[in-house]
């Protein structure tokens, strides 16, 4: 591991009045005990995510990256180590408290969408708002706005099973964001989509990120990961590398980037 990967606040970030990281984890450990030998999924992870940062975690399947994301969202509990959300220690939170936070402060999208199959698109999106105590009228307004934003106007009455994978993932994204959570966790959100669906998810994550959404994305897809500001390579339960990607503007002039070179033989 290189020594510039220490999970500390970076001086070159935007100056903020409040510098508490959106998310912080310290010495996280999680071992799965099933049949056979214990699986050391997460073996001592320190991580800090600034507000507004878009972090991708990549690595081979079985490296423990999904377990890491589940720990960060309280879907699983670590064997040891601590998690802070917005500076607040979550170590003693009950299951019930985590459920509340997953409605208010943490939005999550999964590979297989996890929509409620016998609820309409509109109800799927409104449900977390209503559960969080938002008045029905406002829940409806938020839902309408998000579905429009995600290009799903007209699909309100559809059932999830009638939609394409890409559309279902957009509904899941709307559901995750309906309560405007400061943190979005995404677990292989394009894992079951074709390349068009993948591009769509990528475009939407980038758009929400540009508006200030903090995102932690787990993916094995490098195209998706390259939309992030920072990519963490996860191997065998540990962070193997933690790299900021270039932030420069897109190259404008034809070919000056030198990114692409077709060999035109002479």
């Amino acid at each position: 591991m290189s020594d510039d990967s220490a999970p500390v606040l970076r001086a070159d970030g935007p100056t903020e009045t409040d510098e508490r990281p959106a998310l912080r984890a310290e010495a996280l450990v999680k071992t799965h005990y099933g049949e056979g030998a214990p699986a050391h999924a997460v073996r001592g992870v320190d991580l800090s995510v600034r507000r507004g940062e878009f972090v991708a975690v990549t690595g081979p399947s079985g490296a423990g990256k999904s377990t890491l994301l589940h720990l960060l969202g309280g879907l699983q509990r670590p064997d040891s180590g601590g998690i802070w959300l917005d500076g607040e220690c979550a170590d003693r939170w009950s299951e019930a408290r985590w459920s509340v936070e997953r409605r208010k402060r943490i939005g999550i999208v999964f590979q297989f969408f996890n929509l409620v199959s016998n609820l309409s698109v509109a109800d799927n999106v409104e449900l977390p708002a209503l559960l969080a105590g938002v008045p029905p009228k406002r829940a409806r307004a938020e839902r309408t706005e998000l579905l429009a934003e995600l290009g799903l106007t007209g699909k309100e009455r559809s059932m999830p099973g009638e939609l394409s994978g890409g559309e279902q993932q957009r509904v899941a994204l709307a559901r995750a964001l309906v309560n405007r959570p400061p943190l979005l966790l995404a677990d292989e959100p394009a894992g079951s989509l074709d390349s068009k669906g993948t591009r769509e998810v990528m475009r939407l994550l980038s758009r929400f990120h540009q508006r200030g959404q903090t995102i932690v994305l787990v993916t094995h897809d490098a195209r998706l990961a390259s939309a992030a500001d920072r990519v963490i390579s996860f191997f065998d339960g540990r962070i193997a590398d933690d790299a900021e990607l270039d932030a420069g503007p897109p190259p404008r002039r034809a070919g000056t980037s030198g990114v692409l070179e077709l060999e035109l033989r002479d």
Binding site: P60, R223, L245, P250, P251, A254, G255, S257
Partner: protein, 171 residues
Amino acid sequence: MRLPLLALLARGPAHGYELKQDLEVLLGSAYPQPNVGQIYVTLGRLEKSGLIEGEDVEQSSRPNKKVYHLTDAGREALRAWFEETEDEPRVRDEFFMKLAVAPQTGLADQIALINKQRRQYLNTMRQLSKLAAAEDRDNRIAHLLIEGAMLHLQADLDWLERCQEELEELE
């Protein structure tokens, strides 16, 4: 650049600057464009070898321009080009060589090499995503070019992952 220029001329006669513009439109902004000088030099060589013929066309307020057309020999050369298949890219890889010999030198760590190379690939991937976003949506050829480069990179990244898995086990 010889054969792409011949291919553009298979459609009908054109002058050098037209050919440059056609290439730009066809391949999109992602493709590093040859400058007009390179194009004129190549056209000169093609004419010398009998694959195209040029004809001076007078212009009232400007110097004459030369309009080229494909000869039968040029058409034959194009046919032969389409007939051949191309070598696979990346059969030899400089990075692989570094990885293979690093342990014997004591000068570089394999995992550090992999991490460094991965950063490079990820940054390239990011630039490609930006190029794709900036490219005209309707230019399918340009998008396919970028997508091809991204798929190659994804394969390179997957391979780096394999290297890391294998080599870390040895440690």
